[in-house]
Structures are given as C-alpha cells and as structure tokens.
Symmetry: C2
Subunit: 217 residues, 2 copies
Amino acid sequence: MTPTKKDQDGELTTRQRAVLDAVLELMVREGDQLTMTSVAKRASCSKETLYKWFGDRDGLLAATVRWQASRVRAGSYDSQRLDAALLRESLKDFAATWLEVISSSTSIALNRVAIGHAASRKSNLGGIVLANGRFAIGERLKPVLEAGRAAGLLNFDDAETAFRTFFGLVGRDVQIRLLLGDKLDMTAADIQRDATRATDHFFALYGANSEPRIRIL
Amino acid sequence: MTPTKKDQDGELTTRQRAVLDAVLELMVREGDQLTMTSVAKRASCSKETLYKWFGDRDGLLAATVRWQASRVRAGSYDSQRLDAALLRESLKDFAATWLEVISSSTSIALNRVAIGHAASRKSNLGGIVLANGRFAIGERLKPVLEAGRAAGLLNFDDAETAFRTFFGLVGRDVQIRLLLGDKLDMTAADIQRDATRATDHFFALYGANSEPRIRIL
DNA sequence: GGAGAACCGTAACGTACGGTACGGGACTCC
DNA sequence: GGAGTCCCGTACCGTACGTTACGGTTCTCC
C-alpha cells in the first residue's frame, strides 16, 4: 500500500539487493516452497521489513524479477564497420549468450515462477520476464540484422520475422524441456556448438550471398 | 494409497472422464485456483469420490494430463510411396498440428501446471507432458524424416538434430510467449502460413536437391 | 545521553485448502 | 425388502502460509 520511493524508482539499497539475491537463491534451490518466512530466515531480516519494502509477496517476486533482469543486460553489439565475419561472430555471440541465459538455473526458476503467475491474474510477472527476455533481445538483435542487410550481407523483408526464425534456430526445444524438468545439462562446448550451428543455419536461410533462400512452389 | 485397478490401467469410466474434463475446463478458466472443492463442485461429485478415484491432488492432475495426452495422438503419417510433394505436405501437416496444439488454451493451461509442478519434486507431471508432447512428436516425425532421406529427398546425418531444428523453426517463440501470458492469438491462417514457412526453411536447410546446406567455415 | 527511526526475531491471527468423516439417496443383488 | 455398494453433499479437521503486531537492539541526530 505504501511503497517507499526507492521501490518505485527501482533504486535498491545494498541490503535490499542482498534480500533479493536470497530470494533468487531460494527460488533455485527450493523451487515452489518460497515462503515469506523462508525468505526472512535466509536473508536474516524480519518479515515486517519485507512487507515494508516490497508491499506483499507479489511485490517481492516482481522486485526479484526486475532485479535479475537488470543484471542480464549485456554489452551492446555496435554495428558499424560490419563485414561478414564480424556479423557472423555477433550473431553467434548472441546465440551463445541466449543459450547460457535460458539454461541457467536462475532463469529456469524465474521463468517457472512467472509462468505459474501468468495462470492467475495478479501482478504481471510474465510480462516483465518477456519484456526483459524475449523482447529485449529482439530489440537488441534487430538493429544488427538490419545493419547486416544494409551492408548487403543479409536478405530479408521483415526483421521481426527474421529474428523469430533465428530465435527458433537457437532455442529449439531447450527452454521448454528445461522448464518441464528435463535434465539436459548443456556444457559450454554444447552451447558453442549449438550457437555456431544456429548461426550457420540462419546464414543459409538469410545470407544475401547464398542461393535464393526459399524455393517458391 | 489404494488406487483402483481402473486407475492403474489407465482405463477410465465415462464418469471419470467427465470429471477429468471438468478439471481441464477449470484449468483453462481458473488457471491457478484449481482446488479440490472447485473440481468437486464443477463435476458435481463428492470430494470423497475424487480421493477414492485418484488418490490425492497430484494423482488427479496426473490423470488429467494423461487423459488429455491420450486424446492428442493424431493419425500416423505412413511413409511409403514418398515423393517430394508428399513429404513436404506431411511436414507441413506436422507443423500445423503442433502449432495448433501448443497454442490451444488447454495445452497452455496444462503446461503451466506441469511447469509449476516441475519446480517442486513430487509427481513428475513435467515428464508426462514431455513424453506425450515433445518426445512423442519427435518419435513420430523422425521415421518420416528418415524415409525422406532413404528416398533421396533429405540430407542429414542425425535425425534427432534435424528434428530439433524443425521443432525450432516451427515453434520459434510461440510457446514461451503464450506460457508467459502474451496474447498472440494465432488464427488458422497464421498457423498455415507459419507451418508453410517452417517447412520451406527446413527444406532449404536439409533438402537433398538444394545447395550444400551449410558452408563450413 | 535521550528521542526517534530502522530493523531483527518471534509470536500471533485469519484464512484457504488438502484431506477425512458422515449422513442420506439411488441402485443392485439375493 | 433388506444388505451392500456407490456416490453426492456437506460439515469438519489440521496445517501451512500470508500478513500483522510487538518487544528489543542498534544506530543516528540533536
């Protein structure tokens, strides 16, 4: 009811960040059984403080999701001086980064919570996760794709469609399998190989210097 | 503790199936708030009967997942007399069917429940969903792909890898967006178009009569 | 050094819900 | 027509957990 200014601004104190880290840790380890009591115990703070800072349980979860999202933002891929090798490398890095994110235990736990919440109505955790995950990466990658097109390296009509194809080539069944509890531990080598393969496939489909990319029936 | 023989065999009476349909309906409409009391009220049966038939809440959910899975199994795509057009049509049908499944409100609700359960330990709903979804479709599609290879229409080393690429091209970001609460209502026309595009892309990557499918760096 | 704020630890409250018990009605079998 | 079975409706129980309240400690500011 009466959130502090800091919460509204997204400015968190060190102590508050430590609390949210404890929430993340509990999400990963305990999964579902994330109670306010367990958070308070783990973070060595009182429940009264939790309610004072975050309003209620949903507010705590939302703050946690935002806190984690604020850390995921990686370096921006500048797109001047673009040649084929650099573009390919950028896409491969994107793919590898994304695979690392979705296969991390933190992301899995967070997405599970958000999906569980999407079933109910209240406090749009799913929207926050989407905005900072799928859509954020789309907005960062599309300029790269368009720069590639401007440089005559890529060939597509709609950047959104091209991005979604790349997204599918990279992620395949990984995320849904992990969310549903499938093991599938991806090593760093697996991720590099998958990222390379997805990038190769993407260039095979959208590379400007390749064959006409789709045969029209 | 003492499930009836019918439950173990997966043989369900008409009444029991009606109860599970009520569970599905409640999952779709109420999402998270699926209580034993609400199921009993909706299905017009007593809670005592629910516990007698399904053991406990998890048993009820597991039976519901299995019941829905038993209905999803579609026709088998026979793979003799294979020519290019028929193979392409089979893949496109697969893609369209899969897109219809994952964008159905029933599938979304069921996957959300299973993912929520995967966070906890108990009763492997996620495993059941995976076995009847992702893995079942893989086992049905891979023979088609291998028949296509045997007929000289496709070119790949590993059927699993080829299938996973197809899976990614078809699903892209659709399922995760829907699970996280994004709107994205797919019309039948959208599904047909996406299925066609995914199939075209797949043939561009794995078609035997196309260019060498991947440039090795 | 005294007032007040911030916060920890814990106890207490209210409720929602999983699970159980019980009475009563409908049907079957003898 | 009486015993047994199945099942509906409902009341009940126990507990887990979100939320609130409160005493005690530390720190800041004057």
